[in-house]
Subunit: 492 residues, 2 copies
């Protein structure tokens, strides 16, 4: 496992980068900005996917798959969307390599195999999907279309970090089509709520729901709903977005439907997505200086059992002792790993599973057999206790629920205590610079004030709270009147 | 649903193309050679994925994710592999678009954003994965590595067909690393067996297991194991391949491990994959002139229930009548659709679900309520009968098993009757041209004879049967001695 993890207070960013690698979640690849998601990290992502996928299906959505490539002429059809992504997209221009006549064994691009029209590797799929929906939609009978896609996308980011910002990432993107504006707005809100529910109930991550300011909106959207979470270093993280797209894509791709009276109208749209960025959010929300901390509902291994022995005979005794525990826990749907590798010592295993955030550790040795006990350890509080052998099932049951709740509560307390009000720009700057966190402040609703605040403090408007109290006040920057406080923060 | 499906005997190829579209499985996109997999088609693929994924995990594999792009220098490292894919790969050369100054609103490639090294969109991932394994493998303790990846890949095929051959397709690719040659060979054979089991037990598709001849081998492999299935038009389809890669990739990427004695040796490798091509195989194996026929184990909808009514009152009565059936079937894990759309007539629905291959249809109307009966229809045999209401659960149970078995048996009989022996080249040509199917014949083991047979008949060696009887004979082409018959066929 190598040397110790950097402490959060010493260098939070370094702590994160080291943790992702030491917990065996992901690593940088030989392709600039692209990551390799390792099996343990991918297993967490699979658990996230499984739960989200069920929630999408429960809300009436079906999965489908659309092409990786977007022809340039489709890509540029919705101008704002195109403008938003044009500067960071990977472009396929050729379809063949040939032998390099000057360097035997090497290949070069075959200039005779140049595409007539360049293909953009999808940074998001509105364009390719709406050019398809055009063929699918004629009348109100064809609506709504409620489709989700699990896919990889590419955005050529200049500064990348594992999970948080990578050139290629995995995500899901919902793309829906509706008869009315109201129905589309409702869909966008519903899906933002689904994201919030997932974040809170499965990731154990409190989030605040809101609407983006115009300048933070998705390129091509009329309104962007979002969930934002507060990380331990006082920076906010956008965890999911759901966009009401109005009729922008329907107009760009000429998608009309005949309503019940036979009149033609443009279709209303939404799109919504969460990505492997959630992995970064999950890691940063709960983990500590000892490594990863995982909520039991998403942990690939919920319980690790480690045998203590000095001989093969002792090993066999311990195996027999824990065998019913393993079987019964598995039968109850608990994910159990019996770590019987003999090439590693118990101390090494303790350390490895601690840094990998396994929520519960059970240790059993000859002394436990003698006293009919087991040692049980909870990763979130780093607490161990000795329990009666017969109590192990109820204890594991209790811990799975309690750890999940404890993590959420701890993060909720942190978010609450990291959310502060500022009524003057001086107060605001002081809070942003010295404390971080969310700062709730009045804003006059103009791009100009937003931009100037950002330039002077690096803080952006994370969201306009959906259920925020209406409260009259004055913009901290311009001192012009304001109807509601918004949340500012420095952000990932 | 539009006009009738072309009959298989009139134009098999047209029948297939129409069926894929009419059954709502997939369609061509605006990107050359790339398909859109529609929700119904994708739901079948998801069922396949779910089962395969479980089988991979049951055999000790874990999922992970590697980059979409392969830098050219890595791509060309294993020469045979590179040579095999160089002529059909999509190449990313730039990472930015800019406004077209001559055409407002249009974009052009920004020539200032040219990549120093071109990126190949992965046609397969050996290169990117083995360049990563190099970092993961130091000693025998790090072995075996048993990893699978679910991903999209791109091969720039010139002639494409939905599911069977598309420029982008979805697949899984297993990539394993082992200490010894034996272990790697065993892994390759095990995974080929897993594919065969999946094809037979879930797809209801009989397959023949074998080894590819050298010229049909995967580029970079030492041995390619495969499963081949016979389609209804007498053409064979390669349904899955599993490759023993020897030390080729370990040598290309310098991946060595220290064994228990501390000696360094190159690592042994396998790779194996199945793709959305299996969708094409599934469709062609069972479907008929009425549309798609699906094995119940992979059908997204196993039972569709259609109400017959002439008034709202009758509709409500029918709903109450079938409600316990829907609930009980669902509780038993049967996938049920109650098709209560009132914008379509029963006849339309019958036709739609027939063409979409729903295995079982139940119809209920006022007359059924009176007589305490239901009408039940099995898609595979196009047979309907009236059953007592109380018998519906046992009947559905029976049909789910019986349809699955019947489809397999029918396909097995077809494959058997389509496999014929030829002892002379005249016989061989006669069979290949007039009957199609597999032709079992002696071959001298040389590339020359194989190539000449292919040129004269378009038939290729599909496989050298693994459990084939050793039988001395003479090559049908060269008349040179041969130790075993091999299977020839024209192929997809």
């Amino acid at each position: 496992m190598g040397k110790k993890l950097t402490k959060r207070e010493d260098d939070y960013s370094k702590w994160y980068n080291e943790l992702v690698v030491k917990a065996d979640l992901a690593e940088n690849s030989s392709v600039r900005g692209c990551m390799v998601i390792k099996p343990y990290g991918y297993a967490i992502w699979e658990n996230m996917q499984k739960q989200l996928d069920q929630m999408f299906k429960d809300t009436g959505h079906q999965n489908a798959y659309f092409p990786l490539f977007v022809p340039k002429s489709l890509f540029e059809a919705e101008e704002k969307n195109a403008e938003g992504f044009a500067k960071e997209c990977a472009i396929v221009t050729h379809y063949r390599l040939k032998n390099d006549t000057e360097n035997p064994g090497k290949l070069v691009v075959d200039e005779n195999a140049k595409l007539e029209e360049e293909l953009i590797v999808r940074p998001t799929s509105e364009a390719i999907i709406w050019s398809t929906y055009k063929k699918w939609i004629q009348s109100y009978r064809d609506l709504p279309i409620l489709i989700n896609q699990w896919a990889n996308v590419v955005r050529w980011e200049m500064r990348t970090r594992l999970f948080l910002r990578t050139a290629e990432f995995l995500w899901q993107e919902g793309h829906t089509a509706h008869e009315t504006k109201n129905e589309a707005v409702e869909e966008a809100i519903t899906m933002n709520d689904v994201y919030a529910e997932f974040a809170q109930n499965y990731m154990g991550m409190p989030v605040i729901k809101g609407i983006k300011s115009e300048s933070e909106r998705f390129a091509g959207a009329e309104e962007t709903y979002c969930i934002e979470a507060m990380m331990q270093d006082g920076k906010a993280l956008q965890a999911g977005t759901s966009h009401f797209l109005g009729q922008n894509f329907a107009k760009a791709f000429d998608v009309k439907y005949a309503n019940k009276n036979g009149d033609l109208d443009y279709v209303w749209a939404t799109s919504w997505g969460v990505s492997t960025r959630l992995m970064g959010a999950l890691i940063m929300t709960h983990s500590d200086d000892n490594g990863l901390v995982l909520p039991p509902k998403l942990a690939p291994i919920q319980v690790v059992i480690i045998p203590i022995y000095r001989s093969e005979e002792e090993f066999n005794l311990v195996c027999n002792y824990v065998d019913p525990v393993i079987k019964k826990l598995k039968s109850k749907g608990v994910s159990v790993l019996f770590d019987k590798r003999d090439s590693y010592k118990p101390g090494y295993k303790f350390n490895e599973h601690e840094i990998k955030g396994v929520p519960i550790r059970i240790v059993a040795g000859p002394k436990d057999i003698e006293s009919s006990t087991l040692e049980i350890f909870r990763r979130d509080k780093m607490e161990k206790e000795t329990i009666d052998f017969d109590k192990v099932y109820s204890k594991v049951d209790f811990l799975i629920t309690d750890i999940q709740e404890n993590l959420y509560k701890k993060a909720q307390d942190f978010t609450n205590s990291s959310t502060r009000k500022a009524d003057t720009f001086e107060e605001f700057k002081e809070l942003i610079n010295k404390k971080g966190g969310f700062v709730s402040a009045h804003w006059d609703g103009t791009k100009e004030s937003e931009e100037k605040i950002k330039r002077e403090t690096k803080a952006t408007i994370r969201l306009i709270p959906i259920d925020g109290v209406k409260e009259k006040g004055n913009c901290i920057y311009s001192k012009k009147p304001s109807q509601q406080r918004v949340l500012f923060a420095k952000a990932y």
